[in-house]
Amino acid sequence: MQSGNHSIAVFLTVVLAVVFNLMPYSGDWIVWKPNFLLLVVMGWVLYQPKEFGVYFAASFGLLADILLRMTLGHSVIVFALCVSVIVMVSRWAQYLSLLQRTFLVSLIIGVVGLLEASVFMLYDRPSAIEHLPMKILLSALAWPLIDRLIARSQRQRD
């Protein structure tokens, strides 16, 4: 029963993230919109590293590729890379405070974003690197809400 509730919580947070990702906002700032699906996936892996891992992230990366109309595999790699770092530091991550977790997530998004932009620049394609700092900042602002949401469903499960 608890496992069922847990799956529902994962499903609901993912649906919420997808809704925020797809919501047709308008304005110049939409290029800075955080990848909510990536944040939610990172959140679940951060709290449940034994249950969720790279394959979990990669499968949601596939969903992101379809939703964002990216080349199939692009988001799979981005999601897998971000989550790999979280899995690597998961032993210590559970002792981090909210602020430290926010910093960790922002750092991962920044490093992976830079890597992604470098690959695009290598092939002489627009990299949107100028939007990265604001994207990191907005991701950092959105993270505490996602963190609290996942932590709360986690507590309910325990």
Partner: protein, 256 residues
């Protein structure tokens, strides 16, 4: 990634998956619909009356202009016939609403609420009240995906309204910027020049606003000018768009 980049083999998978996630697009629109509904519900009667009067006046002005336009169109047609030139195509439009926007700054696409059931087809031009927005790249039963003119993979043949100088407007992955390609330093082009679609290539009909030249730079050693263009369409703002049917699009179920 290689298979997806160079072959269309994965298109059926995309299509099926896109139909499966259709409810998510509906769900993503709920907050905006609620916001629109609440905004219209709480508007005072006096404000609605003022708005109604303004719209009535605007309608009257546009009707007047339209009469003049039809007169000019008929005259244009007569002159074209005298010159044995091709007749201008008669275009009709279908109103559509944006239901999803790609969150990725590297891929400028959006999803609209019209599909095969409404006669939408791949390659169909999409515009807003100000100018060309993009073209349809995927069609499903009740929704479609459009590639915007600002996407880095998009290019569109244009001409300067003032003198007909032709060029290619390419997307730059920036919602507020297009780039003109292959314009030689000797070409007669100035800042402030309006650009319209040239109709070359056959995808976009001729004469629709594309943008305005905002800067021209010439770097020593370069064979072509570096020209930046501000798109006419409100690419990152428009919510209600128009799907364009030209008279050559047979079987289109569109409204004038």
């Amino acid at each position: 990634m290689i298979v997806d980049s160079f072959t269309p083999w994965l298109k059926p998978i995309y299509s099926t998956a896109d139909n499966l996630v259709r409810p998510l697009y509906w769900l993503a629109n709920v907050p905006l619909r609620v916001q629109e509904w609440s905004a219209s519900s709480v508007t005072p009667r006096s404000e609605i009356e003022v708005e109604n009067q303004r719209l009535s006046k605007e309608s009257l002005i546009y009707h007047g202009q339209l009469q003049r336009m039809s007169d000019l169109a008929a005259e244009n047609l007569r002159l074209r016939r005298l010159l044995n030139a091709t007749e201008l195509l008669q275009d009709s439009v279908l109103v559509t609403e944006v239901i999803g926007v790609s969150a990725n700054p590297l891929r400028h696409t959006l999803t609209i609420d019209r599909g095969t059931a409404d006669g939408v087809f791949v390659g169909q031009p999409l515009l807003d009240a100000e100018g060309l927005m993009g073209q349809i790249i995927e069609v499903h039963k009740s929704h479609s995906a459009a590639l915007l003119i600002t996407d880095s993979s998009h290019a569109l043949p244009v001409q300067v309204l003032r003198n007909g100088v032709r060029s290619i407007a390419e997307g730059t992955a920036d919602y507020n910027l297009l780039s003109l390609k292959f314009v030689s330093p000797s070409a007669d082009i100035r800042e402030g020049d309006k650009l319209v679609s040239s109709g070359l290539g056959g995808l976009y009909p001729a004469g629709y606003p594309v943008g305005t030249v905002i800067s021209i730079a010439s770097e020593p050693g370069d064979s072509f000018l570096k020209i930046d263009v501000d798109p006419s369409a409100e690419i990152d703002r428009s919510r209600h768009l128009l799907l364009l049917y030209t008279s050559r699009d047979s079987g289109a179920d569109a409204t004038e």
